[in-house]
């Protein structure tokens, strides 16, 4: 019914991935010991210096072709890299979108020009990308975007407004989903993806949307008649919908879907270590079992997506990815609930104690997790479609 043709019993990380894990772990241990970053939960931090160090080790674009600065390593290695970074809440925002979304999109749909221009810059940690998908009122319904690109000589003039654009105030460029043709019956037609260089284009204004705790990571981005040359269209004009939906599906199942509150679990274990509270034992056991399971499912998808698995393209795991994301979101909350209930504290954002601070950060940012990457409702509708087939 789900995971057809996936052999869970033989799911193992190859030696190369285990070796990489040791390297990444050693690197992170060293960075933490040196105090190069203070982990914060809830929203990945933007830290160009950290990104440069990661890039220097060849760890951005890990699966990409060598000609673009990649390492041609497996998806399982990328999986390991991702989970190691998440396990310590490393500040990856400056390369996250480039590594996870921009890069793969360009490799799949981008022209040689775009690949040459951007991929090496991303792998060197020199260019940070952001995503311009949501608009005021669009929410889960991305097909309703109203940002317009009008054809002009040599390119397009783009006008509109994007919202919830994480780190647009620090990013160098962003992918803009927009209408390149008027709205017709087929709402999904006439959408395209363009690359707008935020810092180098005139007509781009970035304004903060403050999070409810005052933090600034979201932005509104206003595009006022911004010129985008033809060669900055990603893939074919009018094929934007197809491009983003395939990206969305693939990006739903990674460890980032169930590990953003993981460091809180580790601190919880630290707090509870000496407790003989039966509740603590049961809860830690349960949380471990659920995480273990989510991780196996996520790993299975990563493995099947890997070109070397021989399964890429032969299995469609978009629904399974949605399952992992849906369950992962709830799992992240279970950690928060367990922590609250097992350790009686009044958590605060400025607590000196790491556990208490993590707990506060997780509580305050929890509402975001059901928004990011598709709401519960949308994910479940997708899953139900697989189960029930067409109902007409």
């Amino acid at each position: 019914m789900f995971f057809e043709n996936i052999d869970f019993s033989s799911l193992e990380l190859p030696p190369a991935a285990l070796k990489l894990r040791d390297e990444v772990r050693a690197f992170l241990r060293q960075e933490i010991a040196a105090g190069s970053f203070v982990p914060h939960l809830g929203h990945a931090e933007f830290d160009s210096a950290f990104t440069k160090k990661v890039a220097a080790r060849g760890w951005i674009g890990l699966t990409w072709p060598k000609q673009y600065g990649g390492q041609e390593r497996s998806y399982l290695e990328r999986f390991v890299m991702t989970e190691e970074m998440l396990a310590v809440a490393a500040p990856c925002a400056a390369h996250w979108f480039g590594d996870r979304q921009t890069g793969p999109s360009l490799l799949r749909y981008g022209s040689d020009y775009l690949k040459d221009k951007y991929l090496p810059a991303i792998t060197r940690g020199e260019m940070a990308f952001a995503l311009g998908m949501s608009e005021p009122g669009s929410g889960s319904d991305l097909a309703s975007v109203r940002t317009r690109a009008e054809p002009v000589d040599g390119g397009w003039r783009v006008t509109g407004q994007k919202v919830w654009t994480s780190w647009a105030h620090k990013a160098d460029a962003f992918f803009v989903l927009c209408r390149t043709a008027p709205l017709t019956e087929d709402r999904h037609a006439g959408l395209s993806q363009l690359i707008v260089e935020i810092k180098n284009s005139s007509g781009v204004t970035v304004r903060p949307i403050r999070f409810m705790n005052g933090n600034h990571h979201f932005n509104e981005v206003f595009l006022d008649n911004v010129f985008v040359p033809d060669d900055h269209v990603v893939g074919e004009v009018g094929q934007g919908w197809k491009q983003i939906t395939s990206e969305l599906a693939l990006e739903r199942s990674g460890p980032e879907r169930f590990m953003t509150t993981f460091p809180l679990l580790v601190e919880l274990v630290r707090r509870l270590a000496k407790s003989d509270d039966a509740r603590a034992q049961e809860m830690v056991g349960r949380l471990t079992a659920r995480l273990w399971t989510l991780r196996r499912m996520s790993l299975a998808i990563a493995l099947a997506l890997d070109p070397s698995s021989g399964k890429q393209g032969s299995v469609d795991l978009a629904t399974e990815a949605a399952l992992v994301k849906d369950m992962g979101t709830f799992y992240e909350r279970e950690i928060i609930d367990a922590a609250r209930v097992l350790v009686t504290v009044e958590p605060t954002m400025d607590a000196a104690d790491t556990f208490e601070r993590y707990l506060a950060e997780c509580i305050v940012s929890a509402p975001v997790s059901t928004i990011r990457g598709g709401t519960t409702q949308v994910l479940r509708t997708l899953i139900a479609r697989r189960l029930l087939g067409s109902l007409k």
Binding site: M212, E346, V364
Partner: protein, 368 residues
């Protein structure tokens, strides 16, 4: 309709009008930094709302604990940035030992498992100790405290308007931006002191605090539900109002159940605690514990579910500092933890029920 009900209705109408007229986004944004709204407090005092539930002979406005709870529920709907619950608790403590309840914002302590000592020094009592997470300490005119002394537990009050060096307040806050301060007292002279009345203990302060926080959670969640329904009725996605999606309807219905349960538990508990307030028999003590615990447990559980649903329905807009939702949701989440969270109260209540045994279980539950 009886006359107590009529008075309650008038009180609620007045409170609703007052909060609606005076609390707005600008006030709430400013209170994030200032810790409260002095202007709103002035309005409340003019309407005598902070003294509702405090006996008239103690300087209060009269009325019952349930009247005070009714006002508090409304204030929480508006996320009113004022120490109403704390002033009610302080008034209760002062009145219980026959001390006058002054005007102005008051607060109480300890709220955690901390101890103060009071020592008699000639005619004055001097209080020492360290308290953390004291609500609105830096704003309160008086701290009304429970302190241990050679004569047993004392109710003492301390003036914080004249800044003695011996009383150091370090500001802190909860997730809802309300002041939760550290207070260090080093032989501070009390304005007054009196041996705690029967039934006044650290535990009863905590129980009443938990009860009032449950009332506040109920009010905050009502507002979160209201905002969610309004949003769902106007927000369009995939060509339809999201209120028309059955999935959204089912979630809102679940949210409604949680909110209704929180409010029902908190208000029921307020009535029961009041009825039993001067009854110190074991049965009455158990009923009081059950009521306060049930209110806090149920409200805290409801907060988890209802806040999650409210934010889910709202999507991204709900988490921005410009939109109203977070004022009530962050407060509700913070209030869960205060005066004992649901795990604390569940264990306390569970221990009591287990100790009473299976054959007494239904008797206790059905006693009122």
């Amino acid at each position: 309709m009886n006359s107590a009900t009529e008075i309650r209705t008038m009180l609620c109408d007045a409170a609703t009008r007052l909060f609606a007229d005076h609390v707005d986004q600008k006030m709430l944004a400013a209170a994030k930094h200032d810790g409260w709204s002095a202007a709103l407090w002035k309005e409340l005092e003019q309407a005598e709302l902070p003294l509702v539930g405090v006996p008239e002979d103690a300087g209060g406005a009269g009325g019952s604990l349930s009247d005070a709870a009714a006002v508090l529920r409304i204030s929480a709907r508006h996320a009113a940035p004022v120490p109403l619950a704390e002033t009610a608790l302080a008034g209760w403590l002062l009145a219980s030992v026959g001390l006058k309840v002054p005007r102005g914002p008051l607060t109480i302590g300890p709220v955690l498992d901390e101890k103060l000592t009071a020592v008699k020094d000639g005619t004055v009592w001097r209080v020492s100790g360290k308290l953390t997470r004291v609500p609105f300490a830096r704003i309160a005119k008086q701290l009304v405290l429970l302190a241990d002394s050679a004569q047993g537990l004392m109710v003492v009050n301390i003036d914080t308007t004249e800044k003695h060096a011996e009383c150091r307040i370090t500001p802190g806050r909860n997730l809802g931006y309300e002041p939760r301060d550290e207070v260090v007292l080093d032989n501070v002279a009390a304005l007054a002191a009196a041996p705690a009345a029967a039934g006044i203990t650290r535990a009863s302060l905590q129980a009443r605090g938990a009860l009032l926080r449950a009332v506040q959670i109920g009010g905050a969640l009502e507002q979160a539900l209201h905002l969610s329904c309004e949003y769902a009725k106007q927000r369009v996605q995939f060509g339809r109002k999201i209120a028309q999606f059955q999935a959204i309807q089912q979630e809102l219905a679940r949210c409604g159940g949680e909110v209704a349960a929180a409010v029902a538990a908190a208000l029921s508990a307020a009535g029961m605690v009041e009825r039993l307030t001067n009854d110190h028999r074991a049965d009455a003590v158990q009923q009081t514990l059950m009521a306060a615990a049930a209110a806090k447990i149920r409200a805290a559980d409801a907060a988890r579910e209802a806040v999650a649903i409210a934010h889910q329905v709202h999507g991204a807009i709900g988490v921005t500092d410009e939109y109203a939702l977070h004022h009530v949701t962050l407060r509700a989440l913070a209030w869960r933890e205060e005066f004992g969270n649901e795990a604390y109260w569940s264990m306390t209540l569970g221990r009591a029920m287990l100790a009473a045994g299976a054959d007494a279980y239904w008797t206790a539950l059905s006693a009122a």
